[in-house]
């Protein structure tokens, strides 16, 4: 059932800047996209999620065309069945987290009781089973990050996008969260695009690493390949320092 | 999008013409007595006296010992309330004795009130009388929208007296604050009929048609006029105006506007 994500000839202009790339992510594979701030990583995520339109190129998931600039096809974010963990989390502030996690299920028509049950399971899987009644403002950065992850996964998407999933978390909690992430990413059947500015994180979580600088992919390879022979001085510096 | 720097200047330029126009309008009547001449006389007059007192004021300004006259027009009960609250005026001309008595009771008169004109009531309907109203009884019809001056307005009291004399019960759709407001509802076409003074029907010209009320049911409205104590223009000037209003010349002007002798 799970399909591969393909980005072909994708080009997105944002202000005076353009992102161009070709990339394929297999089902079950985690591609970590790493690069300095302003390189175009978030633009990439928004384009795949359907929040920013392509200027050129195609995005397909298996045999479903999510977007084709030339052919005039653009599926709305709702129709793409994509799970997104945003850098700023974006938990709905007026909802209890159990309702937030159930939001995707309810939006797609699941009955209240069933959605509540599945949400409860996911909260338990991220270690927050007993905090379901809390509101986002009452949680720590790490807890909120876990809720965001649970919410994205609970809606059972075909494709998972994560933007700086460890950025909101303090150093002490980071290791535990990284392990949690690794576990769930491994279990996720579809393709995963993980955006990060931290090469050590990319190398730790990705099956492959794509280095993006100034809107283009400058290196694509396994973590070992990238770590052994970093094509970019920036990557070399970050890996050495980490 | 960068803000257009010419924008604010254009707006100011565009506003200047209408502003100048409004300023000119506002300046108009105040200049009539203003610059260097004697203080204008301030007369509070019932709204049914609108045209008559404008004419009387204009005539008074030209005679020997006359001064310009400024008239404040409203329902007599409104004027009485304003005077009691301390509004400065020289003369009060009311449409009934009740409202003038309120002012007298407040100790505001310089001398006794004297009658200066009388009036009678009439039914006012839309031009051409499209609803076929012929008498007071017609006013009770369900299909008509009838307005009346409010009970505290002298015309309202007279109207109710006339209706009571005829034994007719009217359910008005609105109670207006003065007789001219009631009349305007008919001229605007919003109401089918109202009861006003015969002088109002005359003053409205072709904008209403009058339906006469039989003399045996009609009331005679007596208009009193008085000089106010503490008159800003001076009690003498005020008394001269009152005398003028009650003179033969004054009565002629009032008759021209549909009023009868007191």
């Amino acid at each position: 059932m799970s399909a591969d994500l393909r980005l072909e000839g994708v080009r997105v202009r944002r202000g005076g800047f353009a992102l161009t790339l070709d990339l394929a992510v297999a089902a079950g594979e985690v591609v970590a996209v790493v690069g300095p701030n302003g390189a175009g990583k978030t633009t990439l995520l928004r384009a795949v999620a359907g929040l920013t339109a392509l200027d050129a190129g195609r995005v397909t998931l298996g045999d479903r065309v999510l977007e084709d600039a030339a052919g005039g096809v653009r599926r709305s974010p709702q129709a793409r069945r994509v799970g997104v963990v945003f850098q700023d989390l974006r938990l709905l502030p007026h909802l209890r987290i159990r309702d937030d996690v159930a939001f995707g299920l309810r939006s797609r028509g699941a009955p209240r009781v069933e959605a509540a049950a599945r949400a409860g399971e996911w909260l338990a899987r991220v270690g927050l089973g007993d905090r379901g009644g809390a509101r986002p403002a009452e949680l720590s950065g790490g807890q909120a990050q876990r809720v965001a992850l649970a919410r994205a996964l609970a809606s059972e998407p075909d494709l998972l996008l994560l933007d700086e999933p460890l950025a909101a978390v303090d150093v002490a909690a980071r290791d535990g969260l990284r392990e949690l992430l690794r576990t769930h990413l491994a279990a996720f059947p579809g393709p995963v695009l993980l955006i990060t500015h931290d090469p050590t994180e990319a190398v730790a979580l990705g099956d492959r690493v794509a280095v993006v600088e100034d809107g283009a992919v400058t290196q694509l390879g396994t973590p070992d390949e990238v770590a052994a022979a970093p094509a970019s001085p920036w990557v070399a510096r970050m890996l050495a320092g980490g | 999008m960068r803000p257009d720097p010419r924008g604010p200047r254009r707006t100011l330029a565009a506003l200047s013409a209408p502003m100048a126009f409004l300023a000119a309008c506002a300046a108009g009547p105040a200049d009539a007595g203003g610059s260097g001449g004697p203080d204008p006389l301030v007369v509070f007059a019932a709204s049914s006296l609108t045209e008559a007192f404008e004419a009387l004021g204009a005539a008074f300004a030209t005679i020997d010992g006359g001064v310009p006259v400024v008239v404040n027009l409203a329902g007599s009960q409104t004027l009485a309330a304003q005077l009691i609250e301390g509004a400065p005026a020289d003369v009060f001309a009311a449409a009934d004795a009740t409202q003038l008595a309120r002012v007298a009771d407040a100790g505001l008169l310089a001398g006794p009130a004297e009658p200066f004109a009388t009036n009678r009531m009439a039914i006012a309907v839309e031009p051409g009388n499209p609803r076929g109203i012929t008498d007071l009884a017609d006013l009770a019809r369900d299909d008509l929208l009838v307005v009346l001056p409010a009970a505290e307005v002298p015309a309202g009291r007279y109207a109710r007296a006339v209706l009571a004399a005829a034994g007719v019960t009217v359910v008005p759709v609105s109670l207006e604050p003065d007789v001219r407001a009631a009349l305007s509802k008919v001229t605007l076409g919003e109401a089918d009929a109202t009861i006003v003074y015969t002088s109002d029907v005359a003053a409205a010209g072709g904008r209403v048609t009058g339906v006469a009320i039989p003399a045996d049911l009609n009331v005679i409205a007596t208009y009193p006029i008085a000089v106010l104590a503490g008159a800003p223009a001076g009690v003498d000037a005020a008394a001269r105006f009152v005398a003028f209003v009650r003179s033969a010349e004054g009565r002629r002007i009032l008759a021209d506007h549909g009023f009868d002798a007191p």
């Binding site: 709905l92 | 309330a81 919003e190």
Partner: protein, 286 residues
């Protein structure tokens, strides 16, 4: 405040606050507004307070005012929220003109509003004329006319407040909800409207107060008949000429209602709905 606090305050201000003259003018502004209100409180016949509940004319006018203003509020919310959302979110040609037109009743003199309503809905009006000719239904002189006049003046207040609130919403939340599969209706119902709740409350309070206080348009368009169209403000005008003490008492009552409305609002209006944030400057007191 201890000496240290006062010195601290001086150090914090250190030549950056407004000049002293500004404070004097500000005080004058306060006096200008507060003095009439104090006058009202002092001159009202407190001994007759019971009349507010007992006098049948007052009870009738009060019931009419409350009913009409609440219906006007309902209409304002029903029509105003969608308009605010469209003005804030949908870029169409002539949007600025439409916004200016919709806000016009806020600056129009009320009696002019009444004349305009007559021109449209009166018996010889653009809409009212054909309506009367075809159905015999006339709008002026009815409670419906009171509601119409009140809505005409109140709706813009709601629109301007809510539009500001819509513009301040976090679009990111809607993006997140969209990726979770929320339809446009679900977005509106579960993300936008809950986010608007405080601003909507403020706009509603403002609109309701405006509807309650409307006079010029009401007396011109709806007329002045006890029970049907003589609202509280109209009653005040009538009583001022008949029983001035009662007029003062009624005015005091309406002042009380206005104070209650402001208490409801508590700083939250025209977009400043996180009231008090302006105090948290670079110094960081919070």
């Amino acid at each position: 405040m201890s000496r240290r606090d006062r010195e601290g305050a001086g150090r914090r201000d250190a030549g950056l606050g407004p000049p002293r003259g500004v404070a004097v003018l500000a005080a004058l502004a306060v006096v200008l507004i507060v003095l009439p209100l104090v006058g009202l409180v002092l001159r009202a016949p407190w001994s007759r307070l019971a009349d507010l509940a007992l006098d049948p004319a007052i009870r009738t006018a009060l019931r009419l005012s409350l009913t009409a203003s609440l219906v006007a509020l309902g209409l304002s919310v029903l029509l105003g929220v969608p308009l605010a959302v469209v003005l804030a979110r949908v870029p169409f040609r002539g949007r600025r003109i439409v916004r200016a037109l919709v806000l016009l009743p806020m600056v129009l003199p009320p009696v002019v509003g009444g004349v305009a309503l007559l021109a449209a809905y009166g018996r010889r009006g653009v809409v009212g004329g054909p309506l009367a000719a075809l159905t015999g239904v006339t709008i002026p002189f009815s409670t419906a006319a009171v509601v119409l006049a009140a809505t005409f003046v109140a709706l813009p207040f709601l629109v301007v407040t809510v539009e500001g609130g819509v513009r301040q919403l976090d679009r990111g939340l809607e993006e997140a909800a969209a990726t979770l599969g929320a339809s446009r209706w679900t977005l509106l119902r579960r993300v936008v409207l809950p986010g608007l709740a405080p601003t909507l409350a403020a706009g509603a309070a403002l609109a309701w107060a405006r509807a309650l206080g409307e006079f010029g348009a009401t007396i011109t368009f709806a007329g002045n008949l006890p029970g049907a169209t003589r609202t509280l403000p109209l009653l005040v005008a009538v009583e001022l000429e008949r029983d001035p003490e009662l007029a003062f008492l009624l005015s005091l009552a309406m002042l009380g209602i206005s104070v209650a409305v402001l208490a409801l609002l508590r700083d939250r209006w025209l977009g400043g709905w996180r009231g008090g944030d302006a105090d948290r400057g670079a110094g960081g007191d919070a």
